[in-house]
């Protein structure tokens, strides 16, 4: 008997768009000797002491479940970390959940707060998972587009204009993937006024908090009146170079915590015990290494931004994360054409901007989390590519001084 699989599948799941990044990954993965600026993760290997603490925990036999919310020892370290680094205070017993990466934390947050049809504002260009996670939880993602005019920063006015009666929450990601833009305390304070005026919840993805270069990072939960309405999401992937560990955490008022914990315990039970023990070491003893990685990214950012501008690919200076998001409009190509042709002709992988939402069209995401040697070679090839496209001479006159 022939099965009608369409009939079996969930309508919501069927309607999800496949990630645009997937298609590009398949193409890039099929080629050899590609220099990749397409990677969304640190080029550093997890600091050795974290790896060693994890190995030790295995030797000692820590192979059982932990509490649903995570090891208390780790939750205590997380609360100390959030308090000392960002000035936000949580109770480890009933406000912190250790999750399988920050992605699970975002999923938990949306599942916990959304009812069918609730709208969530998503500042675009945005990380590829946000909108689908809202949809999976029954909500409706509403894009708030930003532009390079003010460095891809969302303003209070833009947010207010997008709010409807159905708006329940807003997702903020600062420093941002893919633009690297970072909201200052003053900018967040203005946004916070609108959020309070319309009684919204903020899901704040702060995974790149440790990678802010020019100004101190400000958590939205630290702004007056915001603590009560913020679900703070962070993790170990980016700052501590622990992407493959899949360890994140969320911090929120007790009422949010209780609902999110219920979902967490039914879906995953807990994050792996031995990895959580490694994370304790990360928070206790690896800050000098985090700082040294941050300094290394900052120097590479300076190099990449100025070099792209010099070759005529207009690029704002991002305040954080490890991405630059230059405009490729001067080439007359769509972001997908640009990325595809660059890959085929020069073997450099970048991510076309449109995969991060409509407002990403006309841009490409380049990650500078790769060695200086690779960056120099990749930029040389990009320059050769755009010279062949014949835009070099024209764009010199539009050169933006990023210093």
């Amino acid at each position: 008997m022939k099965h009608d699989y369409e009939h079996y599948l969930s309508q919501t799941a069927k309607e999800l768009q496949p990630s645009g990044i997937r298609k590009f990954f398949d193409l890039a993965a099929s080629m050899e000797d590609v220099i990749s600026l397409g990677v969304g993760e640190p080029d550093f290997i997890t600091p050795w002491s974290i790896r060693e603490a994890t190995i030790l925990s295995l030797e000692q036999g820590f192979t059982s479940y932990t509490a649903n919310a995570g090891l208390l020892e780790l939750r205590e370290e997380i609360t100390t970390y959030l308090a000392t680094r960002f000035g936000v205070h949580y109770n480890p017993n009933n406000q912190i959940i250790v999750t399988i990466g920050a992605s699970q934390a975002i999923d938990l947050a949306f599942r916990a707060i959304l009812n069918q049809g609730d709208e969530v504002l998503i500042v675009e260009p945005a990380f590829v998972s946000y909108a689908p996670l809202v949809a999976i939880a029954g909500g409706k993602p509403v894009a708030v587009s930003t532009s390079p005019v003010n460095g891809f920063k969302v303003t209070a006015e833009q947010i207010e204009a997008a709010i409807t009666e159905k708006t329940k929450a807003i997702l903020l990601c600062s420093p941002n993937n893919p633009t690297g833009s970072m909201l200052t305390k003053d900018e967040l304070t203005e946004i916070a006024e609108i959020i309070q005026k319309y009684d919204l919840i903020v899901v704040s993805d702060e995974i790149y908090a440790e990678l802010s270069y020019d100004e101190d990072f400000c958590s939205v939960a630290a702004i007056e009146g915001m603590y009560e309405r913020t679900i703070l999401i962070n993790g170990f992937s980016k700052g501590f170079a622990m992407t493959g560990w899949r360890l994140g955490f969320l911090a929120a008022p007790k009422e949010f915590f209780e609902v999110m914990l219920k979902i967490h315990q039914y879906t995953t039970m807990c994050a792996p015990n031995m990895l959580q023990r490694g994370a304790v070491e990360a928070l206790r003893n690896t800050y000098p290494e985090v700082e040294s990685m941050r300094n290394s990214y900052r120097r590479r950012r300076n190099y990449v931004v100025q070099t792209l501008n010099q070759m005529g690919l207009e690029c704002h200076t991002p305040g954080g994360a490890f991405y630059v998001f230059p405009s490729i409009r001067s080439t007359g190509l769509s972001s997908e054409q640009f990325a595809e042709e660059l890959l085929m002709q020069e073997k450099v992988a970048v991510v076309p901007g449109h995969v991060f939402g409509e407002s990403g069209e006309g841009y490409i995401r380049c990650s500078y989390a790769t060695s200086m040697e690779q960056l120099q070679e990749a930029l040389k090839r990009i320059q050769r590519f755009i010279e062949k496209k014949g835009v070099y001479a024209d764009s010199q006159s539009e050169k933006v001084n990023a210093r």
């Binding site: 990630s19 990044i21 590009f24 890039a28 993965a29 990677v39 998972s129």
Partner: protein
């Protein structure tokens, strides 16, 4: 010597990779190429930048393996000049690649590099031991280098990029 933040930044960049061009260093440190050039000249002149050594794993080159020994030396310090005079004298030998004054069971720690074991033996017996004030020497031959000046010699694995080509 008090250095400016830009000078320290330049030092850190070339400490990590001294092969970078002046142009790249200027872009990374957000200063002019002229500043980079002048800073490097000044720091070389002040002997803050001492040299630009190249770390070569000679054990991988056939016929060039060489022998390295670390020698613990006990010395009778001299009135007025302490250990400095004898240390300086020893450091002048071209065979000596490093020399430190140590606390503990012995006084000087010397690293000696030679082509053969015999060459090092000859240095110890003919030159080092015969220096006045040298009381005793203990020679340890180095068998294998795992890490030197912060660089791992053995683990090719850590340098390998295991990441996927594109990821979100």
């Amino acid at each position: 010597m008090q250095l400016s933040s830009v000078e320290i930044e330049i030092l850190k960049i070339i400490e990590e990779n001294h092969k970078l061009s002046v142009e790249s260093i200027a872009l990374m440190a957000m200063c002019s190429e002229e500043t980079v050039r002048k800073t490097i000249e000044k720091l070389e002149y002040e002997k803050i930048i001492m040299s630009y050594p190249t770390l070569i794993n000679w054990s991988k080159v056939e016929g060039q393996e060489g022998v390295i020994a670390m020698i613990d030396v006990k010395v009778t310090p001299k009135r007025g000049v302490g250990f400095d005079e004898v240390a300086e004298r020893i450091s002048r030998f071209p065979e000596v690649s490093s020399l430190y004054l140590m606390s503990g069971a012995y006084d000087l720690s010397i690293t000696v590099e030679g082509k053969t074991m015999n060459q090092i033996a000859a240095f110890v017996s003919d030159k080092l031991s015969t220096i006045e004030n040298v009381v005793s020497t203990t020679t340890h031959f180095m068998l294998k280098k795992y890490k030197h000046d912060g660089v791992s010699f053995n683990s090719g694995n850590d340098d390998k990029d295991r990441r996927m080509v594109v990821s979100p």
